[in-house]
């Protein structure tokens, strides 16, 4: 009978025996919250391939760099024009601004979703890791929320980092920094809100798809289809002359919803040939929020029932 010797009771001879053998863990045990936070961080890191093999980093690094290129390019050009005293003119002409940035990189964000979302949920299901998570202090809902949250946080970084660079470039390259900050400050709210809606909606929906399709290839195809087909269908329906149905169909197209919220948040008008121009802006925000809430609810339900 080997009694476990605790640090407090192991004095002298017995202690030395246990030093070379198995040692009990007497330290603190943090509960569910710590477990969920750790999984959140793990999901965020895994989304960028950190802590996985070298090959897992290729896609996120390429897409991350592509998302940065417009911002870096604008800042570089701005530096050049500012040297010739034409900074302000350039600034007024350039098409890539806070209110267009999300739209500019939306394709990259969608590709990032298609490439990385299946890694998080699909991997755990394909390789049976789910059983190990559920056999720990974590609850099934904790697992689902931590994974979704980590992925949405990864997307948020993808959306916001270029705009932070844009902001720093614009501010630091002018002679009057306080004025430049004051100029850009009103955009901060809309930028944050639009990035949050985009990350939440695209991230949430791609996590739903990957939660139900452990096979990576199918999940990738499913995510891309979900983000492109409704938009195309809506366009066709409108083209056939049924603009009412087409208008409402745009509210099931994630990319159209985000175009709409962008226009609403930055108070710009959608291009006049956009067929859904008539809808009130708040309808798009509502649709985005419903989409985010719905995808979280569906994912929670999925993992509450999945067999391990």
């Amino acid at each position: 009978m080997s009694e476990p010797v605790t640090a407090a009771t192991s004095a002298g001879a017995t202690g030395s025996i246990y030093d070379i053998g198995y040692r009990r863990y007497e330290g603190t045990r943090l509960g569910r919250g710590h477990a969920a936070r750790s999984l959140f961080v793990h999901s965020l890191r895994s989304s960028y391939g950190i802590g996985r093999g070298g090959r897992a980093k290729i896609a996120p690094i390429i897409l991350g760099v592509m998302a940065l290129i417009p911002a870096v390019g604008i800042v570089a050009a701005l530096t050049l024009f500012a040297q010739f005293g034409a900074g302000r003119e350039f600034d007024e002409q350039v098409p890539i601004r806070y209110d267009t940035y999300a739209g500019t990189i939306s394709t990259i964000v969608i590709l990032f979703c298609a490439a990385q979302a299946p890694e998080l949920f699909g991997r755990d299901q394909r390789h049976g890791v789910l059983a190990l998570y559920f056999a720990r202090a974590l609850r099934r809902s904790d697992y689902a929320l931590a994974r979704i949250g980590g992925f949405i946080a990864a997307l948020l970084i993808l959306e916001l980092l270029p705009q932070v660079i844009l902001f720093l470039g614009r501010v630091l390259l002018t002679s009057d920094i306080p004025e430049a900050v004051a100029d850009d400050l009103p955009s901060v709210g809309p930028v944050l809100a639009q990035s949050a809606l985009a990350a939440g909606l695209l991230g949430g929906l791609s996590m739903v798809v990957s939660a139900f399709t452990p096979r990576r290839a199918y999940a990738v195809a499913g995510i891309i289809a979900l983000f492109t087909i409704p938009n195309v269908v809506a366009g066709i329906v409108v083209g056939l002359g049924s603009s009412t149905i087409g208008t409402w169909l745009t509210l099931v197209s994630p990319t159209s919803i985000l175009d709409g919220t962008n226009a609403f948040l930055f108070d710009t008008r959608l291009d006049s040939d956009f067929f859904f121009v008539d809808l009130p802006g708040i309808a798009f925000v509502g649709a985005a929020l419903v989409g985010i809430g719905g995808s979280i609810a569906i994912t929670l339900r999925r993992f509450a029932r999945i067999a391990t």
């Binding site: 943090l30 059983a131 202090a137």
Partner: protein
């Protein structure tokens, strides 16, 4: 510590209306290395999952460490380590990264998680290779990682589901040795679910046999062995001659291929066998003490708890398939 480690009362689990995985199971399990033995589909995996609170029972009660599995699942899972039967490792992570991640999920702080990971991987015998991706590991190494992740948070109780699955004989010996050390040296209670009775005989202290979701027997291992001694005498040729000679000596014998099975209920057979083989000049291959095979347990199958069930002389015994593959939920 008079309290049972695990107490199961009338536990029933049905899948749908047709499949019954557990059928009114009642048994107490004490600390030690306990073998949970049954054929495939007997309900072993289902029982382990219910004990972990991973799935709910249809009816009945169970407590683990005095905690109700229905209401205290989270508390139970914090103190229990679980090694599932199936693959459960991501191929693109290294053993170190994966096990320390699992330690974090078990509630260990970051530094402690790293220290415990290094220690546990050393205990299970993974060294330099622990920094390589798991996808390139052999089955034996993967099983060690699975064991390490179950052990990393220093559980009070370890639930192992078919831990020697897919291992070659050497790997099996090493895994069993490891399980024995965990139970005997580390002082962690272990429950090993397996369909191979021979493995439990080597490491276990107690045996719980179930079949069709019902309890066949629960008894200390010694009791099983005492009542079931069979000596297998294997000769290259002349097994019939040997059998006749031993029968003439008054032993109850049976033939099993080239081996002659002798009942060793009394102490005499060893000398008689030695003399018989020597007198007949037979090429002896081995003399081996054979123990209960799983199917023997099922043959006595009166579902009475802890009955020392008198075992008749080893009469005509057919060679039964070692692995009675029965389909069903596992």
């Amino acid at each position: 510590m008079g309290v049972a480690l695990i107490s199961i009362r009338n536990l029933t689990k049905r899948y749908g209306s047709s499949i019954t995985a557990l059928d009114g199971l009642t048994v107490d399990i004490e600390p030690g290395i306990v073998g949970l033995v049954g054929s495939n589909g007997a309900g072993k995996s289902t029982l382990l999952k219910i004990l972990l609170g991973l799935i709910g029972a249809t009816s009945g009660e169970a407590t683990v460490l005095d905690l109700d599995v229905r209401t205290r699942g989270t508390d139970i899972r914090q103190r229990v380590g679980y090694m599932p039967e199936h693959d459960c490792l991501p191929p693109d992570a290294s053993a170190t990264d994966f096990v320390s991640h699992m330690a974090l999920i078990s509630g260990l702080p970051r530094t402690a998680a790293r220290e415990r990971t290094a220690e546990v991987l050393r205990h299970v015998g993974l060294y330099e290779e622990r920094y390589r991706a798991i996808g390139g590991y052999s089955t034996g190494m993967k099983q060690r990682v699975k064991l390490a992740q179950a052990l990393v948070h220093d559980p009070v109780l370890l639930l192992l589901d078919e831990p020697t699955n897919g291992l070659d004989p050497t790997g099996r010996d090493e895994m069993l040795e490891l399980i024995h050390r965990i139970g005997a040296e580390f002082g962690i209670a272990v429950i090993v679910a397996t369909h191979l009775l021979g493995e439990i005989e080597r490491v276990g202290s107690h045996l719980v046999a179930i079949e069709g979701g019902k309890l066949l027997r629960s008894a200390p291992l010694g009791e099983f062995i005492e009542h079931t001694g069979t000596l297998a005498v294997e000769v290259d040729e002349g097994s019939e001659t040997l059998a006749e000679r031993l029968a003439a000596d008054g032993l109850s014998i049976a033939l099993d291929g080239r081996a002659v099975l002798v009942d060793v209920a009394d102490g005499r057979p060893y000398d008689l066998v030695r003399d018989a083989v020597a007198d007949l000049g037979l090429p002896l291959v081995r003399i081996e003490r054979r123990r209960h095979r799983l199917e023997d347990l099922f043959r006595d199958a009166a579902p009475v708890p802890a009955g020392p069930a008198g075992h008749g002389p080893a009469a005509a015994r057919d060679q039964v398939g070692v692995d009675p593959a029965v389909g069903g939920p596992s």
